[in-house]
């Protein structure tokens, strides 16, 4: 375009200057002058046209550069946009980037240091109500994009308030397998249960249900592979299987080939009219912990370290039902969900590994459940209630029963929450919980939390 512009100016200059100098017959001169004038006008008009076109392209180009690249490449195929995609260069292929910021203020009436779920083996570091006072929650940095015509990739890095970076999820997934099949590999949240697959920032409460904390250490992710199949039916039916290293609770790290844990899951779901939708699921998780150590207090009141090796099997039944008038959740909507967990562990338990190290068989059957409901009573505002309970079930320590015993206390917790979402990208939440996870202790917990998401518009699953 510039070239044509300069060319036009050059022709204009060359043709105008010498002709002016020629003295000739007046009619001829007038004719020539008219011709030149016409020529000049036509060139000026064309230059003006070119300039406006250039300006428009500049505006479009800058708009496109500002645009996040979450448009599929297809949208750029409109003729006007062709030039602008070239201008954006390599950045046009950057993955979608999103960042979730969250922070909490917690007011806990009891010291969180000795928080535990009575009668349940501790399940790792990521459980409990967290720190007292102000704390920065996990900042989740997410990247996602199609890799090529066969694969999609996604990574979520979680930066903790303690300045540690963790890989929450990092997986690749097929997009081109036939017959409703899909395979996934990497680190990902297992398909078991309902809440397990959802990132913390989409939870309806500040913390995970007690059952998730007791049986899955908060949330279960695998380093492994997943195969999933969606049935060709009008009712949603999904069957899936995960195999993985199984290094997280209830499993442990192990130096062995093969899979350390296996999970199977099935989900069934559909609509009832335009206003209601539902999903139910059932899952099974098997892990093979080796020397899963934990600290406990024995019957004599000594702090001891024990360790469990054996087989851990977890069964989950989950269900969710949602209602919104005509399926329009903008003004009011209601959600009801619940999950039931049952775990069987069999194997060897070593008591007081540091000193006496007495090993004998161990067998337990424990369960837990929660139900929760969240109601949006007006645009932007929601209230919710949740009740959690664990059942200590039966635990057989064999001869170690001389040192260790469980009571029949059932840890429980009741929570109420109110949240306000000024837009779909921000949420501020107030939560109160009466936490009775510890036998004989009632902890009043108040949380104020914010959760905000920046960058690419995330799409949330059901």
């Amino acid at each position: 375009m510039f070239q044509r512009n300069t060319l036009a100016l050059a022709v204009l200059a060359l043709s105008a200057a010498p002709l002016n100098a020629i003295a000739a017959d007046s009619t001829e001169l007038q004719q020539i002058r008219q011709d030149i004038e016409q020529l000049r006008q036509s060139y000026e008009a064309r230059i003006r046209e070119l300039e406006t076109r250039l300006q428009q392209t500049d505006v479009k180009a800058s708009a496109a550069q500002q645009a996040t690249s979450n448009l599929p490449a297809q949208t750029a195929s409109a003729p006007a946009a062709n030039a602008t995609t070239q201008a954006a260069g390599g950045n046009a292929f950057n993955p979608e980037i999103s960042l979730v910021l969250s922070g909490t203020y917690a007011n806990l009436s009891k010291d969180p240091k000795n928080w535990q779920m009575s009668n349940f083996m501790p399940s790792g570091d990521e459980i409990g109500p967290g720190k007292r006072g102000f704390s920065l929650g996990e900042s989740e940095l997410g990247f996602r994009a199609n890799i090529d015509q066969h694969f999609y990739g996604q990574a979520t890095l979680a930066v903790s308030g303690e300045n540690e970076i963790g890989v929450e999820e990092a997986f690749v997934q097929t997009t081109s397998l036939p017959k409703g099949l899909q395979a996934k590999a990497g680190r990902f949240f297992s398909g078991i249960g309902y809440l397990n697959g959802q990132h913390a920032h989409t939870w309806d409460f500040v913390d995970a249900p007690l059952a998730y904390q007791a049986f899955l250490g908060g949330q279960y992710s695998q380093d492994g592979a997943q195969l999933k199949w969606v049935a060709p039916t009008s009712t949603f039916l999904e069957l899936g299987m995960d195999v993985g290293a199984g290094e997280r609770f209830p499993g442990t790290t192990r130096n062995k080939n093969g899979a350390g844990s296996t999970a199977l899951f099935a989900h069934l779901g559909g609509d009832i009219g335009a206003s209601q939708s539902w999903q139910v699921g059932t899952s099974w998780l098997r892990a093979a912990p080796r020397d899963r150590t934990y600290d406990a207090t024995d019957l004599a009141g000594n702090e001891v370290s024990n360790s469990f090796s054996g087989r851990s099997q977890l069964y989950i039944v989950d269900g969710v039902w949602k209602w919104a008038p005509n399926g329009n959740a903008e003004r009011i909507n209601l959600k009801l969900q619940g999950e039931y967990f049952r775990r069987r562990e069999t194997g060897e338990l070593a008591y007081d590994t540091a000193a006496q190290n007495l090993s004998d068989s161990y067998r337990s059957a424990q369960s837990g459940w929660y139900v929760q409901s969240v109601y949006q009573f007006m645009p932007r505002w929601r209230v919710g209630a949740r009740f959690d309970q664990l059942d200590s079930g039966t635990v057989d320590y064999a001869s170690n029963g001389d040192f260790l015993a469980n009571t029949n206390y059932k840890p429980k917790r009741s929570s109420l929450m109110l949240d306000w979402s000024p837009s779909e990208f921000s949420r501020i939440r107030l939560q109160y919980a009466k936490d009775q996870a510890r036998q004989g202790v009632k902890d009043d917990q108040i949380f104020v939390q914010y959760q905000m998401s920046l960058g690419a518009h995330g799409a949330h699953s059901y």
């Binding site: 800058s62 490449a73 060709p232 009712t235 903008e330």
Partner: protein, 298 residues
Amino acid sequence: MKKHLITLALLLLSPFSHAALNIVACEPEWAALAQELAGNKASIHSATTALQDVHHIQARPSLIAAVRNADLLICTGAELEVGWLPVLQRQSGNSKVQPGQPGYFEAATQVRMLEVPTRLDRADGDVHAAGNPHIQTDPRNIARVAEALAKRLAQIDPANAAHYAARQSDFASRWQAAISRWEKEAAPLRGVPIVVQHKAFPYLQDWLGLKEVATLEPKPGVEPSSAYLAELMARLQQTPAKLILRAAYNDGRSADWLAERAKIPVVILPFTVGGNARAKDLFSLFDDTLAQLLKAAR
């Protein structure tokens, strides 16, 4: 009991319909258009209804199942469905309807986009980088989309290519005739000042020459506060409007509030097929839209 369970299981898991082509449309207008072009050669399902806000849809299990079985997915695009469609595509395990495949059709790529923002900042509300996605309110856009969609149908179902081409040419001539009729009828609407609830009608305004003097939402997708409504009242005294436009799915309270005080009518446009009892197909959608506008602007 066992027998009942088996019947129930069969009912729940009944295979998806076996028509030649399974089409899932993200919005009712594209389902209606697909119906015009495909006739009885396709079984068509709309993922949303006119009473739902397509910006905010849950990726429900039923929708995943529908997308799983689709040969063609027709959506508006331009980020309108960004909050839910990617989940449906990913969780369906259907390779045919992934972005870039012939089985995924985006209507917005066929038309000239309006309100393309020059600045992208979420502080400006729910803005779409590609421009305003509510393209279906201008029938000329429907004509452009129809042309491309007919070609796409022929591409994924070549055996019936002639059928689609014939239906498209029939639809195109009926649609063109209807547009001429609507344009003649709508002449009195040119320059009529209006207030819109959401910026949902720029294409309709562009087509009919309606003049938008204010929006009820201070920013796209943001509910008006009472302070903003009061300010809006003051502004309407300076530059009065003749009517307030809102779509069937919008919450009507703020529009009613303003209508009562500014003493102008609220026009509840069907916005898409099924938005009211009269908007049964694409033709009656625009018949009703124009009839309502003409009545209110009189």
